[in-house]
Amino acid sequence: MTALLDIRHLTRAFDGLLAVSDVSFSIAGGQITALIGPNGAGKSTLLNLVSGTLPPTGGVITYQGQVISGCPPHRIAEYGIARTFQHVELFMNMTAAENVMVGRHLRSRGTLFSAMFRLFGTAAEERRVREDALRFLERVGLREDADTPASALPFGRQRLLEIARALATEPKLLLLDEAASGLSTREKRELVSLIYAIRDAGVTIFMVDHDMDLVMSISDAVVVLDHGEKIAEGTPTAVQHDARVIAAYLGEEAAHA
Amino acid sequence: MTEPVYARKRIMGNLPDILQLLFTGLAVGSIYAIIAVGFTVIFSSTQVVNFAQGEFVMIGAMVSYWLVGAEHGPHLPLLLALPLAVLAAMLVGSALGWVLMRPLKDASVTSLIIITVGASMLMHGVASLLWGKDPVAVAPFSNTSGYSLTLPAALTGPHAYPVYIGTQELWVMGLAALVVLALTFFFNRTMIGKAMRAVSVNRHGARLIGINVSRVVVGAFALSAAIGAIAGAAIAPISMASYGMGTMLGLKGFAAAIVGGLGNFPGSIIAGLLLGIMENFSATYLSSQYKDAFAFIILLGVLVISPQGIVALFRRRRASV
């Protein structure tokens, strides 16, 4: 088992408060790895650190042997890491197809100059990018909505559109941030089969989620965070029976009660 | 010619000049410093860079001029006019803060910038209508014009000029020191001051513990306007007052705020003082026409080297050693 992504002593502080504290684990290629934990455990922060949206304050992230921590997000995207967002971050001012076409940014080459003067090949590339985008929309079942403004799509489809947009970069590692939250049971079922399909196409998946049943049923490995620290790691069954994990979740329930 | 002796004599002979430049530079610098503090008050509680900050300075200068010395004005005593001018600026400042409430929620930097620029132009326009476009001379705060300080001849050599200590410059420095002291007290000892600090650290958290964030925002604008107005009233007798004085003063105050590190109180005060002194020296020894360009060159330089301000640069150096 080769590690695709390796996280060592990863730390992120906000004004002295440690959101992620000395976390180390690795993600195996071709698998579905889930990151879980109670509210405020630092899950989203960790995902933001991997995608470069936030720079870490300590520790190292290695991707296929190359250090990526500290790189700006667009550079990390070039390495082949794509993501979705907890609060959908679509380009609401654009259509569904256009959203996915932005996902093809790294797979096309037009420059400001060539676009201005419509130089040789601009129109052909533009056509190709659109065809590619439609293909990715097809994969998530949104082909019919291609020309609908992203803002007019129902929430569940917006989530799917974000996945299509991320897939359009042809990533090797896909980060899903709470992809199931806000979805109906049927939509969740569709999401699960989509995730399997993506995995089967050779994309490694690292997901953060709240939904225990979903996480336990589909992931190959689980990492548990609490108060920014890693408290457990292993197969879903092993983690479910870990005393510290149970304590952490029980604590949360006690706090809610 | 024996060079070293000659050189030393020249420096000694220039000592009164240097002290003079230092003194007037410090006065102008105190103005930049409190304008910078005005920026900081608003920035730290709202994250807004208020492009109308300079206009508060203009309002302070023009209103106090009109109340005290204008031909058709009410000829009030200064002691009454100064608080009134500050009050006028605070009203305008609160209005601006109130107008910004809605766009603040959308958190679009672009629209915030544009609205404060618009407000700046609006005040500009109204002032030029009310008071005309010509700069006006403003009477100093007290009648005593100043003191001549003759340095001992042993230091300067014979025939040296005395250093002139202007009363208005002393007023400016005194008021600036007072503003800084009052602000320190305000932020550390009063409830509303503490609330403002809480909002600057964590807006959402402040709302949760029951702080009225909108009131704090309006309060920050009013406070900042008051600070600006004091600066304006104090500098007007030295620089004259006009409807357009705010743009340049505001920019220099902003330069000081950036150099000191946006949001950093002591940093912006020190940077303001230094800026005033350096500007004064460069005007005398380099070029007087380009005096106003000097502050911006420093501003651009700081943005290139260390956008978090010079203080941050030193801090980073120390951390890396």
Binding site: A19, H87, F91, G110, S151, P154 | G118
Partner: protein, 365 residues
């Protein structure tokens, strides 16, 4: 892009050409063509500023300085160095582009207000330079010139200080000189339509899409591989080049330039034009430039009768700025268009979920 039906850009451009070609049939008074010529000139500048504000989310308060760089480079090269105006024009554009790169590089990696303040300061520096430009080379430059063996007769550029530069030659093709108001009208509008076409091409391209994406959500655009800082610099430089082009056209069309045309207030006027037309809508540039130029003209006419009223232009402009930004942040054109469309469709499809606020803050635990 389907090949079957013509693109909306093409239709707009053809419509624009037709309108411009026919305008002189309606506007028969040749003096009335002068403001229309100014609209074309300002449109060129405003398109660039519009892209900067709308797509890169940055405000420049110093575009009058780039306008000045174009105008003064053109004027100085063509009157003092004997250059052809056609050579002077790209020289000014190149200079503005380089200067924009230098000013923009440090600021555009930071958040919005830095560029605004830096350009405001930059505008002031340029204005001071125009006013106070020395009549002879400063010692340092003179020495440098001697070291580089420049002939002593090399003329030192001259800005004319506060009194400005007169007698700037008009543009000409061969022996055909663009001299009359009508000729200048056609010439400037040809440039304006070309600029509109080129910028529309950008908006509908890979780069334009990336820019619109940045406008929609910076965080998401970055994770798709869009180098946001680089694109912001590209747009800033492009906008400076367009401003210089406009400045150069202004110099050759009017024949006389002086510093007050290029002061800070003018920079704000350009921002007002963008805001009226609506950010991120390059066709709005025409409307924004048109409104402000015609409003200024009208105020001047009225001002002949009521002198005090002419001083209201600043107040009116700033009131427009504030009101539009608060109540119609999308600009007058887009807001009106959306309102009409909504009426027509009868609110058929309401968006399911309101677009979440795209704040730059990243979710903290």
């Amino acid at each position: 892009m389907s090949r079957v039906r013509p693109s909306p850009t093409l239709i707009s451009v053809l419509l624009g050409i037709a309108l411009v070609a026919l305008a002189p049939c309606v506007v028969t008074n040749s003096y009335a063509l002068v403001p229309l010529t100014f609209i074309a000139i300002y449109t060129i500048l405003v398109i660039g500023l519009n892209m900067l504000m709308g797509y890169a989310g940055q405000v420049s308060l110093g575009h009058a300085a780039f306008f000045a760089i174009g105008a003064y480079t053109s004027a100085i090269l063509s009157t003092q160095y004997g250059c052809s105006p056609w050579a002077a024009m790209p020289a000014g554009m190149a200079l503005a582009g380089i200067v924009a790169l230098l000013v923009g590089m440090p600021c555009l990696r930071l958040r919005g207000h830095y560029l605004a303040m830096a350009t405001l300061g930059f505008g002031m520096i340029v204005y001071i330079l125009l006013m106070e430009w020395p009549d002879s080379p400063p010692l340092l430059l003179a020495t440098l010139g001697r070291l580089l063996h420049l002939p002593a007769s090399t003329p030192w550029p001259f800005t004319g200080g506060a009194s400005g530069l007169p007698d700037i030659p008009a543009l000409a093709i061969g022996s055909f000189v663009f001299h009359t108001n009508l000729q200048k009208f056609y010439l400037t509008w040809a440039f304006a339509i070309l600029a509109l076409l080129l910028c529309a091409n950008i908006v509908n391209s890979r780069v334009g899409r990336a820019l619109r994406a940045v406008h929609g959500s910076e965080a998401a655009a970055a994770t798709l591989g869009v180098n946001i800082a680089a694109y912001k610099i590209h747009v800033f430089v492009l906008s400076a080049i367009l401003a210089a082009l406009a400045g150069s056209l202004y110099a050759h069309a009017v024949g006389f330039i002086s510093p007050p045309t290029f002061n800070f207030i003018r920079s704000v006027d350009f921002v007002v034009m963008v805001v009226i037309g609506g950010m991120a809508s390059i066709w709005g540039a025409v409307l924004g430039a048109g409104t402000i130029v015609l409003l200024g003209n009208w105020l001047q006419d009225v001002g002949a009768k009521f002198p005090r009223l002419a001083e209201f232009d600043l107040i009116i402009h700033s009131a427009i700025l504030i009101l539009v930004m608060i109540f119609m942040p999308a600009g007058i054109v887009c807001t009106a268009r959306d309102a009409v469309l909504r009426r027509l469709r009868g609110r058929a499809t309401a968006p399911a979920a309101a677009a979440p606020a795209h704040s730059e803050e990243v979710a903290t635990p």
